[in-house]
Symmetry: C2
Subunit: 261 residues, 2 copies
C-alpha cells in the first residue's frame, strides 16, 4: 500500500522536546508541502501557497511561542489539503474537494482506498506522535496544557472578518475563558471566544481526540493571518501572546498542576 518514499514522509516533527514548561504547542496546518507520494492535487503553485493549503504564519508563531514558553512543539509537515489533521477521517473536510471558493481536483471522487491510504500515512502517524508526546508528559507527572496554533484568512467568501484573535475550546471552556480575559487585558487585539468558528463547526478535533480524554486544559488560538505577514509581525504577536498564556494559567490556578488519576 505504501510507496517507496512513504517512509520518509515528513508527516510530523516534534521540536524542543526537552522543553519543561507547562504547555504543549501543536500546529496541524504548519506546512503547505505536497510530497511526491501525493502529488499536487491538480493545484497550481499560487493556490498551493494560499490559505486553503495551510495556515500562513502559524508555524512561525508556534515556534516562537514554544521557545518563549519552554514548550515542546508538535507540527505537521504536509498540506492540510492532503489531509486536514484537525478533522476525523470520515469528515469530507478531512480531504476537501472544495475549500472556500477553490476546487481541489485531486480530492474529487476519492476512493475509499485513497482515503484509507491518506489516513494511514498522514492522520494516524501525526496523532500517534502527538499522543506519544502527551503521554510522555503524563508519565513524568505533568498534565500539559494543549495549545493549538492556527491562522485564518481576513476575507472569507468575500466577507471581511473583524476578529483578530479567536479563542476556541472543546468541551471544557475553563482555560479558553481565562485566555480571553488576559488577552483583552494585555493585548490590543480584537479577541472573541469561539470565533470565527467553534467546536460546533467540527474544528476542535485535535483537542477532542488528544486533550479532552485526559482532562487536559486546552485552547485553540486562531490569528487573523494579516497579523502574521512577516517575521517581525509574527514575533510581535508571539511576544504578546506568551505572557497571556502564562497569566491565563495562573488565573485558573493550574500553573503547577500535577498529574494524578
Amino acid at each position: 500500500m505504501a510507496g517507496a518514499d512513504d517512509k520518509t514522509l515528513p508527516v510530523v516533527t516534534t521540536e524542543n522536546r526537552e522543553g519543561s514548561g507547562p504547555f504543549l504547542i501543536v500546529c496541524e496546518h504548519a506546512s503547505n508541502h505536497f510530497p511526491p507520494a501525493f502529488g499536487t492535487l491538480g493545484l497550481d503553485a499560487e493556490t498551493r501557497a494560499a490559505h486553503i493549503a495551510w495556515d500562513p504564519g502559524a508555524l512561525g508563531l508556534a515556534r516562537r511561542l514554544a521557545k518563549a514558553l519552554d514548550a515542546p512543539l508538535v507540527a505537521a509537515g504536509i498540506s492540510r489539503l492532503i489531509y486536514d489533521l484537525n478533522r476525523p477521517p470520515h469528515a469530507d473536510s478531512a480531504m476537501a474537494a472544495k475549500s472556500e471558493v477553490f476546487d481541489v481536483p485531486g480530492n474529487a471522487g476519492l476512493t475509499r482506498e485513497a482515503r484509507q491510504r491518506r489516513t494511514e500515512l498522514v492522520y494516524l502517524p501525526f496523532h500517534a506522535a502527538l499522543h506519544a508526546e502527551i503521554t510522555r508528559h503524563l508519565t513524568m507527572g505533568r498534565l500539559p496544557v494543549i495549545v493549538t496554533i492556527h491562522s485564518f484568512t481576513p476575507v472569507y467568501f468575500g466577507k471581511k472578518r473583524e476578529v483578530e484573535l479567536g479563542i476556541i475550546h472543546d468541551a471544557d471552556p475553563t482555560f479558553a475563558k481565562a485566555v480571553l480575559a488576559e488577552a483583552q487585558a494585555l493585548t490590543g487585539l480584537v479577541c472573541r471566544l469561539n470565533e470565527p468558528y467553534s467546536a460546533a463547526d467540527g474544528v476542535t478535533h485535535t483537542l477532542r481526540l488528544q486533550a479532552t480524554p485526559y482532562g487536559l486544559h486546552h485552547v485553540m488560538l486562531e490569528l487573523r493571518n494579516d497579523l502574521l505577514a512577516d517575521d517581525l509581525a509574527i514575533a510581535s504577536i508571539a511576544d504578546g501572546l506568551a505572557p497571556v498564556l502564562t497569566a491565563a494559567l495562573a488565573r485558573i490556578g493550574a500553573n503547577d498542576r500535577k498529574a494524578s488519576a
Copy 2:
C-alpha cells in the same frame, strides 16, 4: 530503551478484521501473559492466574460475540498488571502496586523511566492498533459501535456482588440504556446500569479515548466471572448477549448508521 524481544511483544491482536457487522469488539484484559521483557512482577503462578491479572473468560466471550456479530475483535495479549490498557498513563491503577487485597511487588516504586517504558511498549501500540481499526471503519463510511468486554470477580474485598451483567457507558448513555432494556427483556441476568462501577471510577478510559471523540455509540459489558467458568458457560452467555446487542442497536435506530461529519 526497548530490549531485544520487545518488537515481538504480543501487545495486541486484531481478529476477524474482515467482519462487516456494525460492532467492533474490544478486550483490554484478555490475557494474563507476563512476557520475559517485564518478568512476573514478583507474583507466584496462582496470583498471576487470579482476576487481578486479567479478566477470566472475557476473551472467550469476546471471540464468540465477534463471530456471532461478524465483528472485528481487538484484544490485548499482556496482563493488566503490566499495564492496564483501560487506564491513562498517569493513573496509579495503570501499573497498580496494589490490586484489591494483593500486593504487586514489581509495581512498587516504579521509576518514571519504567512507567514510560511500559507506556511506550504496551499502552501506545495497543491504542494505536485500536485507533487504526476504528479509522479503517470510518474511511469505509461506517461508524462502528464500540463494545468492550470485561469480567469482574463475584467477591470483592470480601463482599459478594449481586449484579451479573454490568452495563457501563462513557459520556453518551444512549446505547448502554438500550442494551440494559434489551438485556432485561431477553436474558435472565441481573442487569444494572453503571455497576459494579462507572465512568466516575475512571473505568471508561478506552471508550473515552477511542469512542467518544468520534461520537461513536459504545458500551462496556462487565460479566460476573463465575458465569464464564468454562467454554459451555461462555457460549451460553455469548449466545444470549449477541441478540441483545443487535436488538439494542435496532432500538436506537442506529443499525445502519453511516459515517458523515
